[in-house]
Subunit: 216 residues, 2 copies
DNA sequence: GGCGACATACCGACTGGTTAGTCTGCCGGG
DNA sequence: CCCGGCAGACTAACCAGTCGGTATGTCGCC
């Protein structure tokens, strides 16, 4: 059931002259953003392959002409979504990692932070893990490379802690990172915004599990 | 509409091939199994929606007539793959849970076992978490119900340990289970059979992480 | 031990429907 | 008067599922 928000969403202003945009509401977001938002919602809801560009443009209240004016292909739209999430998370990880606190605190903060931002962008995250393989090979390579940067920065933190002796080195840092990201990845399969735990609570629990697993 | 497979269960059981099969060469598996194997490989490789029925039947060396003789729809093929993995893992979990060992040992064994069987059926596992949402609503509900049974059995084990005081109860058992299964699902994104760790080694590491996270 | 009747297993051309992407053209503002 | 921004009809490709047809096997019966 397409949740078309029957009230507010005036997708089709009928014969409203496009030129007089600012007429009354001025609030309408620019077309490219509307397309991205519609695509994100639909990709998360039905999957990339099951969403036709016709549906996207209808949800955004425009036509194909508009979409292909701003984006090169359907694939491009997906790639943009990836870029948005990756940039956000990388930036936040860098900030945490560069903070001056102790290793233990930096790892805990990074682990919790990625959980919170994932939950706050659950649609993006779901698309990320589900639709990676529908990207063209070239774009897929690019995404994987950025992903690896993130992964390696995180791993370096864990290794630092292991060398310093505040973490056990029973388990290779690589595996530790994959272990934690697995649970992050899985969030979109079970977390429901209307559940009993807030994003921060979930993040604290998951970061807590990781920290306990790393205890020497 | 009427599914021609109605009730029939032709999974990997070594059912006697109807007459002809064996011929001279001797190696050829029966057609339904060949179709399942081809579909599994292709779904894992290119995704469900990107795999055409034509490609499946070509890979299996038959034609559409054969496929629709044994399966009601493309969707059915996918459902069978899910059933195969779910039955296998449920059976193994039940066996571990019913063994007489201590809670700690049962949880460790269950946690490690699911890792090993997931790696040993990596294609199935990849299809599982990537293509769930392409199943018809009805079949999806069924799969989710079976999945929940598994999840709850595992959770009960963790809770038992928490009540007995051998595990910390800082984190709700539900979250613990999702934490671990997250990493299991994630396996198909990073594990490579030609890597340096054997399935058993990975399983021991991941189970070890879980057990340490649960230590009081 | 031959014959018809029916069943199983499969073939492959065909249909009806869908889709990403293209292209021509309108429209208003600078 | 020209150009960015967009409309929407159009096309060429594809694809799941259907259906009539064929080959082979099996069973009952004389």
């Amino acid at each position: 059931m397409a949740s078309r928000t029957a009230g507010k969403d005036h997708t089709d202003r009928a014969a409203a002259p496009p030129g007089t945009a600012a007429a009354a509401g001025g609030g309408e977001a620019p077309v490219p953003q509307r397309l991205m938002a519609a695509a994100t919602r639909l990709f998360a809801e039905r999957g990339y392959d099951r969403t036709s560009v016709q549906e996207i443009v209808e949800a955004a209240g425009v036509t194909k002409g508009a979409l292909y004016h701003y984006f090169g292909s359907k694939d491009d739209l997906l790639h943009e979504i990836y870029g948005r999430l990756l940039r956000l998370q990388q930036e936040r990880l860098d900030r945490v990692a560069d903070s001056g606190s102790g290793v233990e605190e930096r790892v805990r903060a990074a682990a919790a932070d990625v959980v919170v931002t994932t939950i706050e962008n659950l649609d993006d995250a779901m698309i990320f893990f589900r639709s990676m393989h529908q990207l063209s090979d070239e774009k897929q390579k690019q995404v994987r490379a950025e992903r690896r940067r993130y992964h390696e920065r995180f791993r370096a933190l864990v290794e630092e802690g292991q060398r310093a002796g505040v973490f056990t080195d029973e388990t290779p840092a690589d595996l530790v990172v994959d272990y934690h990201f697995g649970s992050v990845h899985h969030l979109s399969s079970w977390y429901r915004p209307d559940g009993r735990l807030t994003p921060q609570q979930v993040a604290d629990h998951l970061a807590g599990l990781l920290m306990r697993a790393l205890r020497p």
